[in-house]
Structures are given as C-alpha cells and as structure tokens.
C-alpha cells in the first residue's frame, strides 16, 4: 500500500438508518407471528422434516432435477446447433420445436405425456413401411415417472436451446472467419471455437435454470409421482395437517436452492472475471518487449 492509499469510508446517512429500522421492524413482526401463532404447528414440522417418506420424496426431486437438466442440456445443445444452421429446413425444425415446447404450459405438456396412450395406444418400434419391428403397449411403456422425465426434459430443452444459442451469438464473427481462413469445417468451429467461447455465457444461465427446475419438478405431483411435494401431500391427506406439511416441503426446497445458490454465485463470479484473467494469476506477468 502506498502513501496515497486511503481507507474505504462507508458514510451512513439518515436514509440508511431509516431503512435499517424498517427492516428490523418487519423481521420482528414476522418472527413474533411465527412464534406466537400456534397454528403453524412447529412441533409437527419438526417431526416430519426428516420423516422417511419426506426424505424419499426429496431424493426423487433431486435426482429428477439433475436427470432432466442433463437430458435438456444435451438436447438443447443439439437444437441450438440446428437453430444456427445455414440450411433452412434444419433451422425451421429447431424453430418449430422451440415454439411448441416453449409456447405451451409445461403442466399441460406433462398431463399430455401421461395420457399419450389416448392418442397412440400402441407404439411400434421398427422400420417404417415394413413389418419388421415390435409393437409395444404405450401404457406399459410410459409410466408416470417416464412421462415426468419426458415432459420436463423436452420443455426444458427448448429453454436450454435458446440459452445456448444466446451463447453462440456472443462469439464474435471474426473468430469464425479466423476458423474459416484456417480451413476448418463447421463441426471443428463448433467444437474448438464456438462452444468453449460460449460457455462463459451459457454456464451461469444454466445454473439459474437448474434452480428453477428444482421447483418446477413439483409439477410432477399431479401425475402421482412421489416427489417432495407429492410425499407431503400423501401425509396431510391422512393427517389433515396441511399447512405444516406444505411448510416442510417449502423448507426443503429453500434449503436446496440456497445450497445451489452458493456454487452458482461462485460460477458467475468466475466467468464475469473471465477465464483468462483467472489463469493470468498462475503465469508470471508478461514483461513488455523493449522497443
């Protein structure tokens, strides 16, 4: 620190004191109500927070979230590449996919997938226009959990495709021209130039989607999939302790989102500073060449 360096000063104005007072007042009010209102039934919440059924539901919610995000990322990448294609039919296919899956409510999509047998009672796997293949009963093929995975993944893939395309568009045109000039193919440019450079834009947005997806999975409870929400619903259907059980679910959703928030903010900070700047610290500083 040199002699001209000054300490950081944080001057508190009247405005800040007033805001602190309001903040504390609101917090105290909420705390008072939470503690004194017996209808919250904190003892019930405490009993069921680590109940076996609830934990099983939580586990399903967690793996469903991760699985859906994995499938959606891979599918979304594919759709994004198709969406950026120079060939019109390929592009139109991707645009159509995104419009349909982003333009209809995910809850409706889930119910539709669950009832797909009403549209297609049988699914035949085989070569079209020949008799080779096997005929399968749709109802036995698409269970509630498969419908949940398919519905959420296909919907999320449409959002991921748009996020990934946004990342692709953030790569400067000159980078692609440099690739062209070296004689690279489209696939080479995507792999070595576009994807690595688009990642700083894509990854933070994907983290955000992951946190949303954690809560979006609660929709699968309408299909009777025993996720976190469905598990607490099963319990309060029996005990009529509706509010405490819903709070049990909320507490778990909140805990997991906050846990996911931490790496998310780290990742965002990492990519804001840019990968290269981080790497800079590992290499000795560059001495300018004397001219």
């Amino acid at each position: 620190m040199d002699a001209t360096a000054k300490p950081r000063i944080h001057r508190r104005g009247t405005y800040e004191y007033v805001m602190w007072a309001i903040c504390l007042l609101i917090a105290a009010g909420i705390a008072y109500s939470l503690i004194t209102n017996p209808r919250y039934q904190w003892d019930v919440i405490g009993d069921y927070l680590t109940d076996g059924t609830v934990l099983k539901g939580l586990w399903l919610t967690l793996w469903l979230t991760v699985l859906v995000m994995l499938i959606a990322s891979v599918l979304g990448m594919l759709v994004a590449i198709m969406r950026s294609s120079k060939i019109p039919p390929v592009r139109i296919l991707a645009i159509g996919y995104i419009s349909v899956f982003r333009g209809t409510p995910v809850l409706v999509q889930l119910i539709l997938w669950f009832n797909i047998a009403a549209l297609y009672p049988n699914i035949r796997l085989g070569i079209p226009l020949t008799s080779i293949g096997v005929k399968l009963d749709t109802n036995s093929l698409i269970s509630a959990i498969t419908a949940a995975i398919i519905g959420l993944s296909l919907n999320e893939a449409a959002y991921m495709a748009e996020i990934i395309r946004g990342g692709f568009n953030s790569v400067p045109k000159g980078q692609l021209e440099a690739g062209d000039s070296l004689g690279m193919t489209e696939a080479m440019k995507i792999r070595r130039i576009i994807i690595p450079q688009a990642m700083p834009t894509i990854i933070p947005a994907t983290g955000n989607q992951l946190i949303s997806m954690l809560k979006e999975t609660s929709l699968v409870s309408v299909l009777g999939v025993a996720d976190l929400l469905q598990s607490v619903q099963l319990i309060y259907a029996r005990t009529y302790e509706t509010i405490p059980m819903l709070l049990v679910a909320c507490i778990w959703y909140l805990i997991v989102s906050i846990l996911l928030n931490y790496p998310q903010s780290k990742i965002e900070a990492y990519y804001t500073k840019s990968r290269q700047a981080i790497r800079l610290q590992k290499v000795e500083p560059v001495a300018e060449v004397p001219t």
């Binding site: 980078q175 000039s181 070296l182 004689g183 193919t185 080479m188 070595r192 290269q276 290499v283 560059v286």
Partner: protein, 275 residues
Amino acid sequence: MTEDVTPPSLEPFVPPGMGKADGPGTVHIRSLVKSFGPHAVLKDINLDISAGEVCVLIGPSGSGKSTLLRCIDGLEQIDSGVLKVNGEHLGFREEERSFKPLKRKELRVQRTQIGMVFQQFNLFPNMTAVENVTVGQIMVKGTRKAEARERALRLLAQVGLNGREDHYPSQLSGGQQQRVAIARSLAMEPQVMLFDEPTSALDPELVGDVLDVMKGLADGGMTMMVATHEMGFAREVADSLLFMADGYIVERGDPREVLANPQESRTRQFLRKVL
C-alpha cells in the same frame, strides 16, 4: 467524395524481374465485381500478382481494400469476374462451358493455401499462443501433435515470441498477439499471405515489431498483399503499390515512384492527406 471515377485503363503493372505466369503464389483477377446489396464495393478489379511479389494496397477507408482481400481469402463470395489464386479458380472449377462450384472440402483445401491476418488479430482467446498455432495443423491438416507443436514453436521463435508459447492472448500485447496470428497463418504453409491493416489496431510503439516480421516474410520470398497505412513499409519492402478508391484500382506502380510522383489526381489528393 461522390465524384465518379472513370476506371483508368492501366496496363497491368509487372514489377521488374517478375513474370506473369500462373501457379503457386500468384493471384490473377479479371473484372471482379462485388456488391453488398445495392452497394457496389468492388466495381471492376483487374490485377496480377506474381509469385514472391509484395503488393501494398492503399486508399481511403471504404475504397474496397479490405473487401478485395476478403474475396481473395474466400470470406466473401464474388458476384462476377475471374479470381484465380495459386493458379486455381477460387471456389470454382472451370469446365468447358461453365464454372462449377467446388465441394466444401475442396474449397477448404484452397483456403489453407491462403493465409489471412486480420486487423483485430482474431486469435482464439480460449487457446494459448502455441495452441492457436497448432489447432489448424492438427484439425485441418491432420499433422501429428508433436510435429505440429515443434513447427509452432519454430514459427513463434521466427516472429520473436520465444518463451511466450504458453501465454493466452489476453496476456500478450497487441503487437505480440498479431505476431501469433501471423504464425498461426504461416503454420498452414500458405503460398499467399493477405494482411488486412495488420498494424491499424496497434499502439504506435508496437507497430515496428509486426512490420519487421512481415519484412522478414517478404525477404523469404512469400507472396504478400498488404492493406496498410504504413507508407514507410510500402516504400521499403513493397514491389508494387496499388491505390484504390471507390471500388476501382486507380493507380498501380513502383511504390517509390507512385509515392513520389503520383499520376492520378485521386492518388495525389489521398497522398497529400496521409503523408
């Protein structure tokens, strides 16, 4: 600047000691036209560049220098005319009655034989200096990694970047980045090198290093086309100087003669402003 320039009917200038033969390291252009929408950028370009020639392009911004170089590198498709680089029609195969477009693969092979250096360097920021130089060799030419790295280190040494091979572009100065970009192009073993204002984005004190590398290339017999505002480089290194305005080649000749005694009024006007 709206005055119309009549295309001067110049005898194609051939620098002394250089032939007009076709083949590797040559560029031949006849009646090349290139428009962006309704805006004609290159109106009637006729040009012969011999193997080993260093041709400097000057002219006001918007005169078409960049577009001409980008056409020669295949980054822009020409509307009409003949464009032969390294003795081959760029992007087309001449058949008895017509031109057939080349397959993408064949076009890529042509492109590896033409090197391009951009004003904004366009180095890949996600790769180190040496990776920037090896990526084309490994992916496009299928060179073995060790061999590609060896050549990359040799080229980086040639452009004066010994010991900088593991630095990322963001850790290098503009002049160093541009020299990596030159090495990256050279790694593909091109027969023609195009430079699109290679020193315009650099701080003045870094220009010299880049020009030295380019001078070294010229001395090594590389065919070079250089769009630049560095008149000193033109005077010292170039075999021919080409003045472009409004999409035409207005004047072409020996650089020292043109700079000292321009024949066309447009050239005189331009040189008065920049010299």
